[in-house]
Amino acid sequence: MTQPARPPADDGTLVRIRGLTTVLNGKSIFDALDMDIPRGKVTAIMGPSGTGKTTLLKHITGQMHADAGSIHVDGRNVAGLSREELYKLREGVGYLFQNSALLTDFDVFENVAFPLRQHTKLPEVLIRNLVLMKLQAVGLRGAARLMPNELSGGMARRVALARAIVFDPQLILYDEPFVGLDPVALNQVLKLIRTLNKTLGITSVLVSHELAAVQQIADHVMLLSNGKVVAQGDPKTIADDGSPWTRQFFGGEADGPIPFRYPAGDYATELGFVGAPK
């Protein structure tokens, strides 16, 4: 992997991605992708399914390494960090998984308390209060003693959110945070993400398909397709910027620069209609 010079950590950019190139199973996911995620803002990454949005979050957190290019988080090159340094970096990063990823052996309370127990020596009373505060923020204080298999998908997501914010990290990555939430829970989660960003200055990166929700909280939207950022701008106006990418994506049209169909051979030939005896 190329190692560009370390950029300054305090130029307003928390995550700086340069020339990111990733090929998975022969398929190009990122093609020299450049991206800057500003500090203290809510940035939404949108794009069609399979375009590599979750993979991008995995690159940012060092769960995956790229074939070329660099990712700097708070001035540190993620690919160049040792295991200890990477874990130190991750202590300051919250990550909300697409499928919640709650630890099934523990109840809701212990799931949220897990990072605190692993990384601090706080007294039990303080851990209890911190956990209850986070659960209260996501509206699930009353569910503290439920096991993960007793939760609905939306509740599990809110517990995972409480766990992701338990350390008040400097960066939170949300992978599809709005999926499975009812309108009330959705509204509360939106408010929570915004509050965390406004009051604590937490940088948020959210991967989502829900433009209406994104418009309510995001400061900046980037549209990802074919391994590159094809459009970006203000969430309230990006859908009307006139580019064919945004018109197709936000308009939900099948035809356009964003491919709907996975690459395949000729349809008629595969069905046996071409070259078959009449």
Binding site: Q63, F97, A101, Q118
Partner: protein, 258 residues
């Protein structure tokens, strides 16, 4: 070269690669042992799960192995008028071979598969990734406690198995078939050697088998494809690989320890 040659080469290469990866995984596990000491509670929990929870099957099987062994030996030895040696032969067979091997096979079926399935499902549901993201080393938190628990539990389970087998032998030989109680115990204590039979046979072999079964179970769990089919295959592979490894290692250890 026949048409099957590349396929066969591929299988051999893959098997060798798996053994190599398993070796590397063992080194990672051993390196993580000092870090896993802070998760003593998790190790204790696993010790309960793989050790205490396996007691029933180990005790019942040990009892019946001893009983059937005594029954067979009694009928064979009675031809030569040597039934008084039955207790001694039961003890030697159990301490030297049957105890460690059968305990390890049962342990692989009961605890090894559970470990593989649990870790495989943790991978499939992103729990391992979530730990990574919370800056918790899954090797130190998930793999090493299970490996250590297997290592500690196996010799203890083997002792229980052997005790139950001797008790089963006594039950059939003395209580049912009428061998003299004093002869049964005195012949046994006269022949059984603590170093050769107990330390080398029971403890050393079961420790080695515990290490191998736990390593295979944890390795299969960590390397399983995160799908339901993947977890099913990994669980099967744990039993198959453990059984072969136990029997092969038993031959090697016996050759060296005799």
């Amino acid at each position: 070269m026949s048409a099957r040659e590349p396929l066969r080469t591929n299988v051999v290469t893959q098997s060798l690669a798996q053994i190599g990866l398993c070796g590397l995984f063992l080194l990672t596990l051993l390196a993580a042992i000092p870090r896993s000491f802070r998760y003593l509670r998790e190790t204790t929990r696993q010790l309960w799960f793989v050790g205490a929870m396996s007691l029933t099957i180990i005790m019942v099987c040990g009892l019946f192995v001893g009983m059937v062994l005594m029954l067979q030996l009694y009928h064979v030895l009675s031809i030569f008028g040597g039934t008084s040696a039955s207790g001694m032969v039961v003890a030697l067979s159990v301490y030297r071979e049957l105890g460690p091997v059968v305990t390890a096979l049962l342990f692989a079926g009961r605890a090894g598969t559970a470990i593989t399935a649990e870790i495989g499902l943790m991978r499939a549901t992103d729990q391992i990734s979530a730990m990574e993201m919370m800056a918790v080393d899954p090797i130190a938190y998930v793999a090493t406690p299970r490996f250590l628990a297997g290592l500690i539990a196996m010799p203890l389970l083997c002792c229980v198995f052997c005790a139950m087998a001797v008790f089963g032998g006594h039950l059939v030989g003395v209580t049912w078939l009428g061998i003299d109680n004093g002869t049964f115990w005195s012949n046994m204590t006269a022949v059984v050697d603590v170093r050769t039979d107990i330390v080398n046979g029971v403890l050393l072999k079961s420790l080695a088998f515990g290490a191998v079964v736990s390593l295979i179970a944890v390795f299969q769990g960590f390397t399983t494809p995160p799908t339901s089919e993947g977890v099913a295959y990994a669980t099967t592979r744990t039993v198959v690989a453990s059984s072969i490894a136990i029997l092969a290692l038993d031959f090697v250890l016996t050759a060296f320890l005799m």
